[in-house]
Amino acid sequence: MKFLRVFTCLLFVFLSRLTYANNDTLRLKQFADSLFIVGDYFEASVYYQKLDFFLIGENEKNKAKLSAANANKILKQYDNAINILNTISLNDVHDSLIYLVKYQCALLNYLKNDFLQVEVYLNQLNYLVSDSNYISKSWILQALNLNEQYKWDEAKEKLLMLNSRLYKNDSLVYTRIKKELDGMYAANQLPKLKSANKAVKMSSLIPGLGQCYTNNYGEGIASFISVASSVGIMAAGIVFQFYFTGIAAGNMLLGKFYLGGIKRSEFLAEKYNYTIAKSFNQGLKFRIKQQFIP
């Protein structure tokens, strides 16, 4: 009888110790969650990382890491969030976790405007995950990314694939969305881009022509006049027998204006592409959201 009492007391003590230990991490998690809800995202991310450090189960650790990365994402600390996500080990885990990690990394790079890295992460997702349900969830992000890289045909293809997957049983919605997409990406709607290489070649042939090609007529004329005057100074120097002056001064001015003009025309071509693509892509985004996000 006495032995039983001793045993039950020791059991009680042992169980209370277990719950106490559970209570530590539980309390930490509650605290971090409360900070997140209130909006103290930096503090919440620190405590989530602490939670991850002390937890033992792989599942709970990954959850804590995901929450920490989420807090950093809202704070716009994209690099921190990507670093945290890259510490999650993806060996022998369920496809849902792989999808979550890779999709979040791709999204963070998209928010950071690093469009090539988005491609990298989406390719990894396609390679690692075999279940096509998860891969199709990333097609919207892929289409938007292709838009930003001026690859509108590939983006349209991706959206058509998504459309056929989602609405293959509902032909009314399917045809409506297909018609919308055809209208959005019609050949006459797409912005006409200027080639930077062509602008460079034109400017090296006739200074100022590259700038005119990109619709900067004022700068084109100014560039032509500057190069012409430096050549004129050189010629005048030779004609009036100011050999050294003419050649030295003319050479320096010519080099600066001619090479500078070539660099400038390349910059202007890229700026032109950026400006018209930006407004077109914003419009596309709005319409894609209308079609695919309820």
Partner: protein, 285 residues
């Protein structure tokens, strides 16, 4: 029955205390982990929360260490100076405080801190402390005191030998560097444009100055030769341009001496600081 109740109550209290201690120990482990993985802002945030680390000495040391890793040397020195002499982190805190003061360019204050080490530490670590003090004297350019400390170098500890030899080399270089006078540079430049900058040690700028000023001079000569009239517009324009560049060249040579001295001083000071930094990390880790 009462005995059992008391027994279980004592067990609970015991587990309570050990888990609290375990938690504070865990806080320390986590903050250490953050500091060493370049997450210093997060570590400092946790250190500023109340009750994270109970021991004020450890708290101040960790704060100072994180500020040092973030390269905020003034705040780091202030935090590290608050560690009390009774703590076992005292010698580590003191040596890092001296290092941060030297990086913050407060060399004379740092010199006074060498006396704050306890007698035991000062004896046990006398070789590395002597090396640090010698570096400090060299930063202050007190050559006699440096030489007297240099004589105590034994060059037999592989953790110190390289730094001791480097300090000796740097002192020799510093003593050899004779003063260059800016007025002499300006005079040299007025004779041959660019020569003053070459004398100051700036070879690239010297060539550029020489080329531009002579080119302009030749233009003036050529315009005079063609127009045969000193009041013609060509001669006047090129003449004014030439004067501007010639006077500018003289000004530039005058100030380039100052700049070159600052530049070589800065380079040598960086090397001295590196020679002090490395032994501290090796000995007080």
């Amino acid at each position: 029955m009462k005995l059992l109740v008391y027994f279980s109550a004592i067990q609970l209290a015991f587990f309570n205390v050990t888990s609290m201690m375990a938690q504070i120990n865990q806080n320390y482990v986590f903050i250490n982990y953050l500091s060493q993985n370049e997450k210093n802002k997060e570590a400092l945030f946790l250190l500023n929360q109340p009750n994270e680390i109970k021991n004020t000495d450890t708290l101040n040391f960790l704060k100072g260490y994180n500020y040092y890793l973030m390269k905020k040397v003034d705040t780091a020195a202030v935090m590290l100076s608050k560690v009390s002499a009774s703590s076992n982190l005292y010698s580590k805190a003191k040596s890092f405080e001296i290092l941060n003061l030297l990086y913050a360019k407060k060399e004379s204050i740092a010199l006074g801190k060498f006396d704050d080490f306890s007698m035991d530490t000062a004896f046990m670590y006398r070789h590395v402390l002597n090396t640090m003090k010698a570096g400090n004297y060299l930063l202050l350019r007190k050559y006699e005191k440096f030489d007297s400390l240099c004589n105590t170098f034994r060059y037999d500890d592989f953790r110190l030998t390289n730094e001791q030899m480097r300090l000796k080399e740097l002192s020799v270089r510093l003593k050899k560097e004779y003063k260059k006078s800016p007025i002499k540079a300006a005079l040299l430049s007025s004779v041959v444009p660019g020569l003053g900058k070459f004398y100051a040690g700036k070879k690239g700028a010297a060539i550029a100055s020489f080329a531009t000023t002579t080119a302009l001079g030749l233009m003036v000569v050529e315009s005079y030769y063609r127009t045969k009239n000193i009041k013609s517009p060509q001669v006047i324009t090129f003449g004014t341009l030439f004067t501007f560049f010639y006077v500018g060249n003289i000004f530039g040579s005058y100030f380039s001496v100052q700049q070159q001295i600052k530049s070589t001083n800065g380079k040598i000071n960086n090397e001295i600081l590196a020679s002090i930094h490395v032994p501290i990390i090796r000995f007080f880790k």
